[in-house]
């Protein structure tokens, strides 16, 4: 029977892609290793190779097709000796394989097993999260454009680079490769290699070069491929960038932005999956921003680039590809240091940031069905922390849960619990609860990864607990 060629998952986070180009046509012979098609994923354009030998039977998805789900049959391959016009597998004449016998299933060949996106514990982090409403600072009725977080970040950089010739971006693969996660796509073309600079793999070195350039009067955006790699550069972020203005009695400015994905990605194991927000948020002299949706990503990155202080800007790979409404405003800049109530409510305050906001909103919808009206706060900036907004909400609801995709110990959640003890104790009707990842290095196995990470169900359970329900 004909072999089904299915849309492959070509990156850990890919759910669908664009079939950019067929490099073979019906009737062509292919052998293992031949490139059959070009497929554009959420990260890059990839070549798709043949695994088996045979003749291309039918091309079922035309080139140029967008949003082709992983696992969709895109073509058929006819093995040697088969008829050229053999129909796709389900209609094939091989009766033996149609038997629902369990033995037959067990004998399924790997080539015929449906390719699917690898299972991951991170799936639930982005599953059903509803989009938050527009920022209250945006007048009602403002036109919006559906934009991915990835595009919003790129737009923010491009706009600021047009506005200020001192702004440049440097990092690994930011220029010719168009960004390891495509965040800097198109910048090289528009701004040239003087302002969009590929660095060697040398995090400590280029973090120092960026910091020094900022001291010399420029406004660098230093991209880390992930913040896990920035651990090699943390000396410059803290000792050089954060402390020098103070140590110099206010003489030495360091307006640098360190940005890149932070937190758990999908199935990449412990060394590529850490949330560094609590580390950086503990350092005086730094601004730490961790947006959730595309509008905040754009408005806050623009603010970060304009800022005269060093900024650590923590993104999240798992939301890069998600679309949100971004106000179609000429110059969308948001204030640093202001949290946002993304869902008003009266019964309980659920505080989160970054990817946790989506889970908090998802949990809030579930809770609403059970009669619990949760107020969800997106902190957006982690240093300085907008404790005023949090405490005002607590004063209204008298209960609080903090949701954080990160370790529990010495976390943003622990910090908020301490703030509430010190400044909101009389408003508490229940202890503050933390919903965080498990206190272990993130495991690789899908089931263990799932067990280690937070999900909406755990938020729901914690909220019920503080509501004594």
């Amino acid at each position: 029977m004909a072999i089904e060629i299915k849309m492959p998952a070509l990156s850990p986070t890919m759910e669908e892609g664009t079939l950019s180009k067929w490099l073979v046509k019906e009737g062509d012979s292919v052998s293992s290793g031949d490139i059959m098609a070009e497929i554009e994923t959420d990260k890059a354009t990839m070549e798709f190779e043949a695994v088996d030998e045979g003749v291309i039977g039918k091309i079922l998805v035309a080139e140029g097709a967008e949003n082709v789900k992983v696992g969709t049959v895109i073509a058929t391959l006819i093995a040697e000796g088969e008829e050229a016009d053999a129909a796709p597998a389900p209609a094939a004449d091989n009766t033996a394989e149609e038997k629902p016998a369990p033995e037959a299933k067990a004998e399924e060949k790997p080539a015929e097993a449906a390719p699917k996106k690898a299972e991951s514990g991170t799936d639930k982090l982005v599953q059903d999260a509803p989009a938050p409403p527009a920022d209250i600072s945006v007048p009602a009725g403002t036109e919006t454009v559906k934009t991915t977080v990835r595009e919003a970040l790129r737009d923010a950089m491009a706009e600021e680079m047009r506005r200020d010739p001192r702004v440049f971006v440097m990092g690994e693969e930011v220029a010719q490769y168009q960004g390891a996660y495509k965040v800097t796509q198109g910048l090289l073309e528009e701004f040239g290699d003087k302002r969009v600079i590929d660095t060697p793999i040398t995090e400590y070195g280029f973090a120092g070069v960026g910091t020094g350039a900022a001291m010399g009067g420029l406004k660098p955006i230093v991209e880390f491929m992930t913040f896990n790699f920035a651990m090699q550069a943390i000396d410059h972020i803290i000792n050089s960038a954060a402390k020098t203005n103070y140590m110099s009695g206010g003489q030495m400015r360091c307006p640098v932005v360190f940005r890149g994905p932070n937190g758990a990605a999908s199935r990449v194991g412990a060394q590529h999956s850490q949330n560094y927000a609590p580390w950086y948020a503990s350092v005086p002299g730094l601004i730490v921003i961790a947006p959730y949706d595309a509008a905040d990503a754009k408005g806050l990155l623009k603010a970060a680039i304009r800022c005269e202080d060093p900024v650590v800007f923590l993104e999240n790979e798992l939301v890069y590809g998600r679309s949100f409404d971004v106000p179609a405003v000429d110059d969308y800049v948001l204030p640093i240091g202001k949290a946002r109530i993304v869902r008003p409510g009266k019964d309980v305050t659920v505080v989160s940031y970054s990817i946790g906001v989506g889970l908090a909103l998802e949990a809030a919808e579930t809770l609403a069905k059970e009669g619990i009206d949760a107020e969800v706060i997106d902190l957006r900036t982690l240093r300085p922390l907008d404790t005023v907004t949090v405490l005002a909400s607590l004063a209204k609801t008298n209960r609080m849960v903090v949701v954080e995709e990160g370790w529990p110990t010495c976390s943003i959640a622990s910090e908020l619990a301490a703030v509430v003890m010190e400044k909101g104790f009389d408003d508490l009707d229940a202890p503050v609860l933390r919903v965080t990842n498990e206190d272990v290095p993130l495991p690789y196995a899908a089931n263990l990864e799932k067990a280690a990470l937070i999900d909406a169900g755990r938020v729901v359970a914690a909220v019920k607990k503080v509501c004594y329900r």
Binding site: Y204, G208, V209, G212, N245, M247, S248, M252
Partner: protein
């Protein structure tokens, strides 16, 4: 025992070019700077100012007026004075490590505000919040004063990046020690500086000891001027105890860097007479070793002899000495009598903007 610096002729990479680099352009052979009598007097005056200033700082440390770490530059004066004299203040930028008093004085920064910083007073150049290791003067393009060994090399490469980006004709001089020359980020910076042809002079002040560890005990390649070879960065070894040799080598280095050839390394063979910091008993070397350098290679005596040969009288030199003693004593008085920072200063300058 470490080798004491000799008056040997400057050595540089092209004498023994690494394989495959034969067709590379190379920097010119440096010659001792031909200083006028006035210039020699100025070198003498500046080196003496650093010497007396540092002696005073040592004294104030002993009296408890200076706290923490205090790294003195005594013995190394010719390096900062020779190099700084070739730079254009306000155009060329300078960055160094924590042994930074000498570079600041050589760049013409007021001794009063340096000494007041050492005593932690409000009038200090960092308003008393930086201390000996963390001093800056952005108006002089003196960018510190950094406490983490080697950090200034990456930061300096960034300063050089900004010179090139702005096309302002400036050069960055990044000073670091023989100890820092074993830090990984130094090589990360070498790579980028050469890759992007950045206008930077890497100055290795080889004073023979990284705290208590001699170069021979810490460096597989102890000829530090060769440390750029695998990055195709040329290096010149210079007698760092001779201000004229230092100035001459700096001129060649500036020509190389300003010619768009990218970075260059100057290894300055020098020696510190005092311990690594004030709390270092310096048991790792003999008294005789130190004494021998002082007697044979002292950078100030060297210029003094040239001046005497040029007809400058003992009385003239004594007058300079007295003037400098007064400057240093005034700085010490200023530093001792200035008030400490006001309590609210604790919270200023953490961030530039308000949020």
């Amino acid at each position: 025992m470490a080798k004491t610096p000799s008056r040997a002729r400057a050595a540089k990479t092209p004498d023994s070019p690494p394989a495959g680099h034969h067709n590379q352009p190379t920097p010119g052979e440096p010659t001792d700077y031909d200083a006028s009598k006035d210039e020699l007097l100025e070198f003498y005056r500046q080196m003496l100012l650093i010497r007396r200033f540092e002696e005073k700082a040592g004294q104030l440390y002993g009296l408890g007026l200076i706290g923490g770490f205090c790294h003195l530059y005594i013995g190394q004066e010719a390096v900062a004075v020779g190099i700084q004299s070739a730079l254009v203040p306000g155009k060329d930028s300078v960055i160094t490590g924590y042994r930074d008093h000498g570079h600041m004085l050589a760049y013409g920064i007021d001794p009063n505000v340096i000494m007041a910083e050492l005593t932690g007073r409000a009038a200090g150049i960092s308003r008393g919040k930086g201390g000996s290791m963390h001093m800056f003067s952005v108006s002089h393009k003196f960018y510190g004063g950094h406490g983490i060994v080697g950090a200034q090399v990456s930061l300096g490469t960034g300063l050089a990046f900004s010179h090139k980006y702005n096309d302002d004709g400036g050069v960055c001089v990044a000073y670091f020690g023989d100890g820092a020359s074993n830090q990984g980020q130094v090589y990360e910076s070498f790579n980028m500086a050469e890759l992007w042809k950045l206008p930077i002079i890497f100055v290795i002040e080889n004073n023979q000891y990284a705290m208590g560890t001699s170069v021979n005990r810490s460096s597989a390649e102890d000829q530090l001027y060769r440390r750029g070879e695998s990055f195709r960065i040329p290096g010149i070894q210079v007698d760092g105890m001779d201000v004229l040799a230092v100035r001459g080598a700096t001129e060649e280095a500036l020509k190389w860097v300003q010619g768009g050839n990218g970075p260059i390394i100057l290894e300055m063979k020098t020696y510190r007479y005092r311990g690594h910091s004030m709390s270092d008993p310096a048991k790792y070397r003999s008294r005789e070793e130190v004494q021998s350098v002082r007697e044979k290679s002292d950078p100030i005596d060297h210029v003094k002899k040239i001046l005497e040969g040029a007809g400058v009288t003992e009385a003239d030199l004594k007058a300079i000495d007295q003037k400098i003693r007064k400057i240093v004593n005034d700085a010490a008085d200023f530093a001792e009598n200035s008030p400490e920072p006001d309590a609210p200063e604790l919270y200023t300058d953490v961030l530039v903007e308000r949020y």
